[in-house]
Symmetry: C2
Subunit: 240 residues, 2 copies
């Protein structure tokens, strides 16, 4: 640093670049909110046709409300569609932000997923959370953010201080009522997801989320995917 | 970068510092080879006294052979004791190295664990591995490194090009013969480890390693610990 003409600005830009590289590339995937798909029709003695199970990894991401969008990207701006996610109507936006955690550490290129929501929310893996200084981030279902920590969010047009909304998303299974009937589960039930392979793991608390527009789909975060080596196996089984 | 007098050297030193910060601090722990202890005597209908179960997180680390120690730290040098690990005779050394992966990305401050071994070996979590460019790192028991990838290791006195030895360590349980008898398992068997709490997980392939000098102790890596939120629960149960 001693030879730099302007150490502060160099440091900031390089920090941001390196943190982005490290923080995104150790995940070995792009910056979207979902990747590492694994699908399987392994399963159970079927009641009728076995629904196909798609298991996906959600990288850390943010959902924004209208008010925060105005501050971060400018009044009246809209999210720009980048690519569709598996659940109908959801998409990865081109927009990204920077999150500043309690230790003044940052993660840049935090992808925003659309559409906009009533409340802003940031979903992090524990690996991300601990790096940022959230040492006991609450594990919550999306939308249930009361009493969770906040963070400073930096967009190209402004800065928002979230009062709450930073969570680790609990592993969950989206499904429609027909798929729920197949498994014999109802809204709020817990199921188990077994992932095979050399690092075989059973996730014991998979929350059931039922919606008529949903397609059967388990979402886990990057820690969970790396623990079970989801990228190395196709053997997945969801059961009650 | 434009204003820096010597962009290359500034970049290198900052890269190293930032990668170290990120790569170590997202784990929220120090640089030792083991942390995040969880112990429990929960368990089974006992045959005699229930052995206390200690579950620990192994951060990424390296084991070195005599020959590589000579190159990395100088001929005839010995590892310097920093602190004891749970298994008798094992210790975190003061010595650290830098590993360079296939993508020319690096992790600095990779802790060496002692004592020295016959073969050098690097144990990474998938999060580390993918960041470095090892996209399908083999999951192996320690010591079983035939056919695994290598890496460049940089020490203060020299550089070693490992031909093989980079692995993800399979989750495993150390125990002595009496503890093995208690569980009714033998060398090479698999057990299961259930971790409770909101991110409850059962690890289905916990390798049994029996040695007269061992104390009952499950080792998992940082991905596994972050997936199950090991730092947030005391509910752990090992069973056949």
């Amino acid at each position: 640093m001693a030879s730099a003409a302007n150490p502060v600005s160099i440091d900031r830009s390089i920090v941001e670049r390196i943190v982005r590289q490290v923080a995104l590339e150790y995940l070995g995937r792009d910056e979207s909110g979902a990747s590492n798909d694994r699908s399987s029709s392994l399963g159970h003695d079927s009641k009728g046709k076995e629904p196909e199970l798609v298991v996906q990894t959600s990288s850390r991401h943010m959902h924004v409300c209208r008010e925060d969008m105005d501050v971060l990207f400018g009044p009246g701006t809209e999210l720009t569609f980048d690519r569709p996610l598996f659940q109908e109507g959801n998409f990865a936006a081109k927009e990204t932000v920077t999150i500043v955690g309690p230790r003044s550490r940052i993660i840049s290129n935090l992808r925003i997923l659309g559409p906009m929501r009533k409340q802003s929310q940031v979903e992090l893996a524990f690996t991300d959370a601990i790096m940022l200084g959230f040492n006991d981030l609450p594990v919550r279902l999306s939308g249930n953010i009361k009493g969770t920590p906040g963070a400073v969010i930096i967009g190209p047009k402004g800065v928002v201080e979230l009062k709450e909304g930073v969570i680790r998303a609990a592993i969950h299974a989206h499904m429609n009522p027909q798929e729920a009937a197949h498994f014999g589960v109802k809204q709020g039930d817990m199921m188990k997801l077994r992932v095979g392979g050399p690092s075989g793991v059973t996730f014991n608390n998979v929350h059931v989320r039922i919606d008529p527009t949903s397609r059967l789909n388990v979402h886990m975060d990057t820690d969970e995917a790396n623990a079970c080596g989801l990228h190395l196996t196709k053997e997945v089984e969801l059961f009650k």
